[in-house]
């Protein structure tokens, strides 16, 4: 099975974000960009399928600027992906998630995979648009919020769980689809030291911006952020005075009922 997995560099969860001088974006200085969250789970899912289906290969793709995009591709190779494709985005090229999907579709159309995996959305902008848009562009179904994806070889079907409003549905699907995965349900593996060292020397296929730019468009339709601000620090924490745990519990329940009104 030919599996494509999409990844995107996102700021490490522990990064202390700052607002850039322009006031319209975060300050990129000092941000550590990593393969994380939903994408880690997508890579793990790709590797689990590869290990369970003989002859499978995993191709990891990312559309983004240097150098962080190359780094998440190398991290994916260190985890076990077979080949990596970097669609280079110039630092000044404006785009939006639909443009990203168009760039990736342009590359995948040349060698269509059997399955495209991605995080259900990226850990930074959480737009969740690239997967569904890519499904449309490739003309295949797409699902988001997926867990427990398996391949039933005897019946040539995928089975997976799909989070929907108010519940979870079990789905069966045939080959050729785009799947957006939930985060951390499959305990993503850690790359081993020798594989990290090997990944530094692995070749990365580069697709020049000029190749995909006609598909992406000039970005004039992409939304322009007007203002970027950090969440305001929360206030209003209330400390409960108590002598015994029982007393603390009684006071807490009273406050939850009478002040927070979370209980009737």
């Amino acid at each position: 099975m030919e599996i494509a997995v999409l990844v995107k560099p996102v700021p490490e969860a522990e990064t202390r974000l700052r607002v850039a001088a322009s006031g319209t974006t975060m300050d990129p200085d000092g941000i550590k960009w990593v393969l994380a969250g939903y994408d880690e789970s997508a890579v793990e899912q790709a590797l689990l399928l590869k290990e369970s289906i003989p002859g499978s290969r995993v191709r990891v793709l990312s559309f983004g600027p240097a150098p962080r995009t190359e780094e998440v591709l190398r991290a994916s190779i260190a985890l076990g992906c077979d080949r990596a494709t970097w669609i280079e985005q110039p630092a000044d090229a404006r785009t939006d998630p639909i443009g990203t999907a168009r760039a990736i579709a342009a590359v995948l159309t040349a060698a269509p995979p059997d399955l495209v995996l991605a995080g259900k959305h990226a850990g930074d902008d959480e737009a969740g648009l690239v997967g569904p848009a890519l499904g449309e562009l490739l003309g295949v179904p797409s699902f988001g919020g997926v867990t427990d994806l398996r391949w039933d070889a005897a019946r040539s079907r995928f089975t997976f769980l799909h989070a929907v409003e108010g519940g979870t549905e079990s789905v069966e699907a045939m080959l050729h689809l785009v799947v957006g995965l939930q985060q951390a349900w499959n305990d993503p593996r850690t790359a081993k030291l020798p594989n990290i060292l090997k990944s530094r020397k692995a070749p990365i296929e580069k697709i020049a911006w000029a190749t995909v730019a006609p598909h992406v468009g000039d970005g004039t339709g992409a939304p322009v952020p007007a203002k970027f601000r950090l969440p305001t620090p929360r206030t209003g924490a209330k400390m409960i005075e108590y002598k015994t745990p029982d007393e603390a519990a009684v006071a807490l329940v009273r406050l939850l009922k009478e002040e927070a009104k979370v209980f009737p």
Binding site: R74, L193, R200
Partner: protein
């Protein structure tokens, strides 16, 4: 100009070590310290991820890393636990004499199976009668046909009860002093190899330390590392390479102490403001940061010298003594900043002081290393 930024490869190695420290080591640190438990499962996982045997070339199944790369990893691991790091790092110490003195045939025969699955090793140099005075060694190796017969006792041996392979130093002739010392590679289970009980230590309690007795242990001549009498040189050259990572280990402990103290200083209030806003605490934090930064730079410099094939006796001794003394001072200040809480075992900083102490003692006591520094220094003036 010197280059102080890490390569992308080094950043990746640091990230791996940091993740391992956080997810695999940290949850067990307090428990292993309290109960002196040897967390075999942590060391197994370290092996699985390639964090054991960092200095062994890749052709024999090791990490193939230079000393600077090792130091970057060791500092991150020690930030979580000095004791666990000592266990993990002991394989590098025990195998270094082989890397320096073994034949290609010995390296293939001994190192390949050793690195092929989870194994620990022990470096057996120190004896009850002396650690620093190596040339006064009592453990004796008597030639008997195609074998040597080793008798004697080693003490303070890291991984003693858990090692699969012992690198043993013994003298073929006590009269020849350091020129009689010879190195051997001895597998666990060889009749007469008798590890003692775990020592109850002040710190590094997740590591295991014991005596190892050798009673009539027959070792094939093929398992002698280097020539007869070459052992002293092998041991000293080994320590020139491995004491720089001990400086990194101390730096990791010191960085942890600084991190805990700075975090606490921002949270703990006195006189209506965080104690970090009082100058008394600021002076302490500033001094701690100076010590940590200087330690790391000295360690990196010594590692750089070794990686460039230079003899770094002076630089490694300076890095190890400075970083270990700094770790003691910084951990001490961290406890002071925590006040009464710092003295309590429920808080993490008193362990750092206990762990830091060993770094002043092992892999060359800071006293003998200062004489080494002076000797090397004066060569430049003579």
């Amino acid at each position: 100009m010197p280059e102080f930024s890490l390569t992308e490869e080094q950043s990746s190695l640091r990230d791996l070590a940091r993740k391992f420290a956080k997810t695999e080591m940290m949850p067990k640190v307090a428990e292993c310290d309290r109960t002196a438990r040897f967390p075999d499962e942590v060391y197994r996982k370290a092996f699985d991820l390639g964090l054991l045997n960092l200095n062994i070339p890749t052709e024999y199944g090791g990490g193939g890393l230079g000393v600077l790369d090792q130091c970057i990893i060791v500092e991150e691991l020690a930030h979580a636990c000095g004791g666990m790091t000592t266990t993990i790092n002991a394989n590098c110490l025990a195998m270094e004499p082989l890397l320096l003195g073994a034949t290609p045939e010995q390296l293939r025969r001994i190192l390949s199976p050793f690195c092929g699955s989870y194994h620990l090793a022990a470096f057996c140099l120190t004896e009850p009668g002396g650690g620093t005075d190596v040339s006064g060694m009592k453990t004796h190796a008597r030639r008997d046909g195609e074998h040597y017969v080793i008798d004697g006792e080693k003490c303070f041996i890291t991984n003693g009860p858990h090692a699969d392979l012992y690198t043993v130093f013994a003298t073929v002739d006590p009269e020849r002093r350091h020129r009689g010392i010879t190195a051997f590679s001895v597998p666990k289970g060889t009749p007469g190899v008798l590890p003692g009980k775990d020592e109850d230590k002040m710190g590094h309690r997740a590591s295991s330390t014991s005596t190892v007795r050798f009673e009539g242990v027959r070792v094939p001549v093929d398992d002698r590392i280097g020539a007869e009498g070459e052992g002293f040189s092998l041991a000293m050259r080994t320590l020139d390479h491995t004491r720089t990572p001990i400086g990194a280990l101390a730096t990791g402990i010191a960085q942890a102490a600084l991190d805990y103290a700075a975090d606490y200083a921002l949270k703990r209030q006195s006189f209506g403001k965080p104690i970090g806003e009082h100058q008394a605490i600021q002076m302490k934090l500033a001094g701690m940061a100076q010590q940590v930064h200087a330690s790391r730079l000295l360690v990196w410099r010594a590692a750089w010298e070794i990686d460039h094939g230079r003899v770094a006796t002076l630089e490694s001794a300076i890095a190890k003594t400075f970083a270990s003394d700094a770790a003691m001072r910084v951990a001490d200040e961290a406890i002071q900043i925590f006040g009464g809480y710092g003295y309590m075992r429920d808080y993490p900083v008193e362990k750092l002081l206990r762990d830091a102490k060993l770094t002043q003692i092992y892999e060359g006591s800071n006293e003998i290393l200062r004489t080494v520094i002076a000797r090397e220094l004066l060569k430049g003036y003579a």
